[in-house]
Every structure is written in structure tokens, then in C-alpha cells.
Amino acid sequence: MAGHKITVVIAQHQGKNPAKRELEEELAARLLMEPDFDCSLVPHLYDMSHDHTGMLFLRSVPGDVVLLSWLYPRAAFWTLDRAGVTGKFGHTLLVPEDDDEIDSEDAPPEPTGRESNRTITCIDLRNESDPEAYLDEIRRIAGESAVETVDLMSWIGGDPKKEQLERYLKPANNGSNGNGHQSVDASAEPVQLFDVTDEMAKRRWYPVIDYDRCTNCMECIDFCLFGVYGVDNVDTILVEQQDNCKKGCPACSRVCPENAIIFPNHKTAAIAGADGEVAGLKIDLSKLFGGEEKDPLAMAVAERDAELVADGRDAVGMAVGIPKRQTETVTAARDELDDLIDGLDDLDL
């Protein structure tokens, strides 16, 4: 498929872990050698502001995208969606090694993403430390993409004008998707690097809604007392005031009956957007360091009360916005624990 390039974007890790940086750099170096891929490096996906050049670039890419990030694929996909980078959910075969037994009965529904002509495939960089594994997977995805999107070839292969891009990015329905998408002028310059050396001032914290799962039940908007959530003109829930969100507080995610609210950086895999994939599911040592165990609703209420008090407001306990239905407030892939077993082996217990 001459002329058709797939766009590969590496979103960097927040920290400066040398091993992670090395994998990012190694991948970038190898991808640059591949004639069929356009490779770009952007800062951490979740922390980039709406008008960051990296985000502008992502919005300007018309065709298929492979995004490599340190987030769960669902978290990365819906974070992009929130930023106005929308597409079909691309399924990667590069998943954690010990993922086998999950595929059976308990597997959650497959994510689909948006109705779209293009596919966004997000790959978790925590899956593999060998860059070649990612290159193989990107080649596979590129192969599939070349077959599936043949009708788009001329368009993608060409050099769309800005107005065309705008039209593509801002479809007739006004470009509004519940995640708060607003189109912004995007430069289509083929830049490779986006302010990755310029450390972003602060880490951000806000919920990302998985619209594959969200049933618009409104429990989050009832529960959150900080005005984070709102609805659009057709009453679809959206994250309206993300900066009202309280850093570290995942309470709304705990009360969401569909586990549709993702905090990509939360320590609990299920809240961070794990999806049957439990690469990040780790031992919780909180009890060792002085914590107490609570059920999710009690945790959510306690977290909310702590934030209310910190704001100089009164704690409300269970009195406000408690889900009417309290079954299944926990959704967590808590069974697949091979990596924990591995961890224990290492401990020589």
C-alpha cells in the first residue's frame, strides 16, 4: 500500500524512570527507520492540555493511529476521545502474557469505540519490555489497516487541506461527543516531537468516561458534589468541569455501576481502566502501611467527605447521592492473579 502511512504515536510516561524512557527512545528510534510508519512522540497523554501541540497534532491525524502509552488501552482510548481524538476501538493482540484464562465467561464486553472510518489502537507499554514485540504488532495492525480502509487510501495518502481536515474532525453533528470534544485548529505539520523535553508543570486528575459502558444512569452526577459532571443538550452525561475534580479522589468511579469511569492514574487496576487485562494488578500493601479495609461505597463516601471537609464544607456521609441500587458497585477483575503469584515467588516467602 504505497503512500499509506500509519501514524504511530508514543505517549511518554509521567516519571523519569530510566527503563521506561529507554523503551520509549528505543521504539522511537526503530520506528523512524520504518518507511511505512510516521512516528511521533508526545508527552503523557493524560496530562496534556487540550491545546497542547501534541494534542493538536493528534487531532489533526485523519487516518489510523497506533498509540503506545503507559496506560491501559481503554484508559488511553477514552482519554483521546475526551480530547476530541475519536475513532473505532482497535484491538491489539499484544496483551499481558498471562491473560489466557480471562477470555472466557467473565470477560467484559469488547470495547467498540465510536462509529468511525478510522481505527485507534492503543497498546500498553507495560506489556512487554522488548521493542521488537511492539514493532511486530504495529506491522500487523498496519497490515490490517491497509486492507480495511482501502476506500480511504487516496484521501489519507494525499495531503488534505486544512478545511478538509476540519470537516473530517468536526463532522456534521457539530463534533460534540459527550467527552467534551471541541475542535481546535490543528496544524498538519509533520512534526516528530512535541514538547517532550518541556516538563509539564503539573499532573492532572480528572475522570474519563468510557461511553461503551456508560448507561447514562446519572449516579456519578448525583454522587459528585464538586460539579465535575454535567450533561449536554441531549442529556448525555459528560465531564464538564474537569478542573473541579479533586486530585486523588476516585469516589465517582467506585459508585459507577458499570465501571465506566476511568481514572487512568489510579493505583487500582479496575479504576485505571484495566479490562480483564491485569498487567497492572499489583499487591495492595495499604494495610501494611496503616490502612483499613472498607467496602467500595464506604470508601467512596469517605473520600468524598474528606474532599468536602478540605474545601471547608460539611461532610455528608451517606446522606447525599447514594446509589439506590447497591449491588455490584464493585467491578473488578480480581481473579487473574498470576503476576501476583510470580511476585510472591520472588519474595521467597
Partner: protein, 149 residues
């Protein structure tokens, strides 16, 4: 250091230096100026293994209750909320670790200190902390295994 105590975690020697005090939630406290420097004990670090990410959820200068949540740690093997060892004030954080937390693993009793803390509470002596480790070791193993089953 001849005054180090050692607690055996299976085959691993967790050192407990004699020059400082300890809290039950597995941090050490070394007198420094008006207060203490606080860090993870070798026991904590062994369970955490390589620390990837450290995040504080309170601001420097915050007065805290015992067991109040103050931050989070993510490592190769574990995730945990971090809690105040006692009532007191968290004066400031080791900023270097926020950039790169590897010192927690490479020099946990020195450069890997976490935060500065002032408090009127008293803490455990090294032998007392080793007793706590002894008494809790079976429970800790059960707790870890309990998360596996």
C-alpha cells in the same frame, strides 16, 4: 554498621539500623533538626521492590492525624496508599524522589528519605521494631497470599 539489627524475610536480610526510631507502619524516623526524616524501612522496600512512582496527596506543612492518607506509592510489585505514622506535621517532601524515586531502592535509609515530619509522639526502638516484624511476619505472609487466592 555493627549496630544494625537484621530481620530475616525468608532468605532476605532486612537491615534495621540502630541510629533511628521506627513506626509500626514500616517507616523509619531519623531525628533531623526540629523533627524527623521519614523513610521506608528495608522491610517495606523488599515488599515494594522497585518503586516507580511516588505521589503526595497533601501539601507541605499539612498537619495530619495518625493513619491519615498522605500519598501513594507504586512499585513493580505493589501499589499502596501511604499513611501518616502518627499525628504530626508533614513539613516537606524529598523533591528529588518525585523526579526519580530510585533512591528509595538504592539508598532507602539515606538519600531515599520520603518526607520531613514533626511530632510529639515517640516511636519504636530498633529492637522493638524487630519484635513487631517478628510478630507480624506470619500475618504479612498470609495477607500477601490472601490477595493471591
Amino acid at each position: 554498621m555493627s549496630d544494625d539489627l537484621v530481620f530475616m524475610m525468608g532468605n532476605y536480610e532486612a537491615h534495621v539500623p540502630g541510629d533511628r526510631r521506627y513506626a509500626k507502619n514500616h517507616v523509619w524516623l531519623l531525628p533531623e533538626g526540629e523533627g524527623f526524616r521519614v523513610g521506608f524501612t528495608a522491610y517495606s522496600v523488599r515488599l515494594l521492590q522497585d518503586v516507580y512512582f511516588l505521589d503526595w496527596t497533601i501539601d507541605p506543612g499539612t498537619t495530619v492525624r495518625e493513619k491519615q492518607e498522605i500519598g501513594e506509592v507504586e512499585s513493580s510489585k505493589a501499589l499502596s496508599t501511604l499513611y501518616a505514622p502518627s499525628a504530626g506535621t508533614v513539613v516537606g517532601f524529598n523533591e528529588k524522589l518525585l523526579e526519580d524515586p530510585t533512591a528509595i531502592n538504592t539508598d532507602g535509609y539515606g538519600e531515599g528519605w520520603l518526607y520531613e515530619f514533626t511530632t510529639d509522639e515517640t516511636f519504636l526502638s530498633p529492637p522493638e521494631y524487630v519484635e513487631v516484624l517478628d510478630a507480624g511476619w506470619d500475618d504479612t505472609q498470609r495477607h500477601l497470599k490472601g490477595q493471591v487466592n
